[in-house]
Amino acid sequence: MDRKVVVPGDLLSEDAKRSGEGTYIKDGSVYSLLYGLANYRDKINVIPLAGKYVPAPGDYVIGVVKDITFSNWIVDINSPYDGLLHISEFPKRIESDEMSKHLRIGSSIMTQVKDVDPTMKVELTLNDRKLGLIRTGRIIEISHTRVPRLIGKGGSMISMLKKEVNCNIFVGQNGRIWISGGADDTDLALKTIALIEKEAHTNGLTDRIVDFLKAEKGVRS
């Protein structure tokens, strides 16, 4: 895989058809919009090294309720834009005056972005079996730009990790991660995720993580 560090305005290709994410076209040529890693495949994508999470419909995210209005929970989703969880998107029918019984200010939820309008009004939903209030476990935050690496190609990294550390893990696209399991298992999971975040842009990471887990487990037993 061909990779290169680029800064905004770098010429990436003279073929406008190869413009991917993090790029723009001017006069038929492709330029970088971001400071990051250019990934040359059919399309050229630039992966940023930093930046804020911008919600997109369908994203699974972890949010924290920060306010309650007449019919909405206002949810912090680690983004410049707050999420709105409407009362009708709660899995069961509840009354407006009972909202704080189900989700209080400070409650953490696993949720999904239902819709984002052009003014960046973000609608959330809890209408899915795997979504809902978080009662146990731990939540950590990493940069959202590292999330694709943590998930891996087709979920390879995260499914390996779940199996190896024997934990339940939910990765939010906004960089928040929920981990639930035994105390030692959770600690190992935290350590491993910290390592993945640190070395996110190195090659052959999955293999190195497998070795790391093997070594860590060897010490414990």
Binding site: K26, P80, Y81
Partner: protein, 253 residues
């Protein structure tokens, strides 16, 4: 401009300037990326005797709310000189000069920032001058451009800034304090690497020919600075790959 006797100061000695530079030579530049823990992007720059820190926050929610734009992000730029940045203590706080510099610097950077990607948000840029030695606005803009890139903000290109001046009827690049104070003209510019100028100011007087010469020279200086900005950003990444352990990771409960 202080009117003065031409014999009082000589700006050149053996064809070189007071600090030993050629007429078209920059002062030494040092750029460090990502030096602030709390900011989303940051940069420290030294251009000769200038020492400047730039910090970028955002995109984030706009406060106060009435400044919000529905279709795009707003950009706020604050240029500030520390009270100890100049010889005589500067009275702290914004003044006429810093308001103007904040405005022109913001307008120098705004054209390349893709504000439409982040409606209803703000990108805050703070530039603090720790030590001043003529050309702080150009140093501030250079640092701010690097800090914006470091914050992961989408931009059409980088912005680089440099000044040219006139002393003893000679056009010089990147004037230092003595040349700025006792010189005949100062012309700072900011531009994209391919030569689109986003800032141009001038004080003093230049003939049309001198003006063209000064602009050409400042543009060459800005291109040199662009290469240094680029190198600083690329080096930061190489460092991250070479010594991954050095980059701190925050895992909060």
């Amino acid at each position: 401009m202080i009117a003065m006797d031409k014999t009082d100061i000589s700006f050149f000695k053996d064809g070189l300037r007071l600090d030993g530079r050629r007429a078209d030579e920059l002062r030494p530049v040092k750029i460090e990326v990502g030096i602030l823990e709390r900011a989303d992007g940051s940069c420290y720059i030294e251009m000769g005797g200038n020492k400047v820190i730039a910090a970028v926050y955002g995109p984030r929610e706009v406060h106060p709310r009435h400044l919000q734009e529905v279709t795009r992000a707003i950009v706020r730029y604050r240029y500030n000189m520390a009270s100890f940045s100049v010889e005589e203590r500067k009275r702290p706080g914004p003044d006429r000069r810093s308001y103007e510099l904040s405005k022109v610097s913001r307008e120098a950077l705004e054209p390349v920032i893709l504000t439409s990607f982040f409606p209803r948000s703000v990108i805050d840029v703070f530039v603090e001058v720790l030590q001043a030695d003529a050309g702080t606005r150009t140093a501030g803009i250079n640092a701010a451009a690097v800090a914006l890139a470091d914050a992961g903000i989408p931009m059409k290109s980088m912005i680089s800034s440099c000044a040219a001046g006139k002393v003893a009827d000679t056009i010089v690049l990147d004037p230092m304090k003595e040349e700025d104070n006792f010189g005949q003209a100062d012309l700072p510019i900011a531009m994209t690497p391919n030569g689109n100028i986003t800032l141009m100011q001038m004080d003093g007087s230049l003939s049309p020919d001198q003006f063209h010469e000064a602009v050409e020279m400042a543009m060459r200086g800005a291109r040199e600075i662009y290469e240094l900005q680029r190198k600083a950003l690329v080096d930061k990444y190489s460092q991250m790959v070479a010594e991954p352990g050095k980059v701190e990771v925050h895992a909060s409960d």
